[in-house]
Symmetry: D2
């Protein structure tokens, strides 16, 4: 990484969505990132478990940090998530993202979401670097 502002910190400083969801960036580096979120009372769906969209959001922010860690602005083109186990109010969720492969302007990143009890979701994101002119 070049000297100068860290691209992930700059991005996260502007990411009001992640902040309003209570998503915290624990650390990031070339091709990887770690985010955390605590399941609050307002995060529960109609079955009394954490809403899948919020678990996806946590993983998606880790993915965004990992794929922007190299510098050039990069966005998610798509993602797949598997819900492994339900989570409940008070659970602390940790999402670890790691690059799997990069090619041309594209990348694939795996994100595992865990509580103290084990894996609760597996996410795979597909990224694309924005064209220079679009930045």
């Amino acid at each position: 990484m070049s000297i100068g502002p860290n691209p992930v910190e700059t991005m996260m400083a502007a990411d009001v969505a992640s902040r309003s969801l209570g998503i915290e960036l624990i650390e990031s580096g070339d091709g990887h990132a770690h985010t955390r979120m605590v399941i609050g009372e307002h995060m529960v769906n109609g079955h009394g478990i954490a809403h899948g969209g919020l678990i996806f959001s946590l993983a998606d922010t880790a993915f965004a940090c990992a794929c922007n860690s190299w510098g050039p602005p990069t966005v998610g083109a798509g993602a797949d998530i598997v819900f492994v186990a339900p989570t409940r109010v008070g659970d602390v969720l940790d999402a670890h993202a790691r690059v799997r492969t990069r090619y041309s302007r594209h990348g694939i990143y795996d994100v595992t979401v865990r509580t103290a009890g084990g894996v609760i979701a597996e996410f795979r994101g597909r990224s694309v670097q924005l064209p220079e002119t679009r930045v």
Copy 2:
């Protein structure tokens, strides 16, 4: 559908997560549902566009309403999303979910998310009906 409380309305009444995200159920029926969300100032990520997790959440709630429309409690086992176009503050997002196929305790549901400008995401959810004893 049997006479008695609508399973989707009962579920949505308890879904504090969708409510706190500003997701509104417009209508639902056997195997389909329509949800809506307006992109607010607090929904923007570090690239100045709506956070992918919130778009996923809107689609996921439509999916949940569609797959629970038959009655038995059903949850998401997984999903894939493709982000077609970015959205910005003030955009009104409509998600239409529709059953594609059902087999055994499983289902596949397609959700298209649109703004006035066109499709912004395509989501495909994989559902599984909860075992009786777990309900």
Copy 3:
């Protein structure tokens, strides 16, 4: 479609892989295609059912025909498949592909694979048009 050689027929004439798998193009048109394959003795995996890769291949060829129906050479960037039911020797499989959405150089196509007994797989392909210079 312009007058001149049909791009799908030209492509299929060169597709020795589909031919050697016994995949037949039944029809195609703008954004859709229908392929067929009969499960032979040599298509069975170690569990005595049709190999998932061959079901994927049938769907993938339908997808290729649908996404090349517009003219410009287009390839699969990725796909997701859900296996709904097993199939056995002698089963006739029909795959119907249909465009879901197109944006920029990309497309999403849904393919349903059926036997006489019902749906056996749901496939969603993500296509990308080749750059002019690469053709």
Copy 4:
């Protein structure tokens, strides 16, 4: 693994589909497997590159060997594949499958397909163990 016939070898001995595609099992063990295939003249699609279904098939067989390595008969419930780079006649493809997580009767397995030139596809399979009575 218990003493007795290796479940993967027993399965592969009956897998005529993989054999007729020229897929070779190089090795397997608890939760992992390595398969190989050479792209032949008859494996090329209408764009002059290896048919995506055949690359999927190679990865799917590695996935099947990995998820059956534990003993109980297990099948693919679904999979996602990303095509990273095209391959051509004569290319030797190696697919390495590795378990990512297991829960209840389910599993997630990642398969990377490579040539000497690098990664050509990333596959993620979702497995389900067959019920005892169905075996």
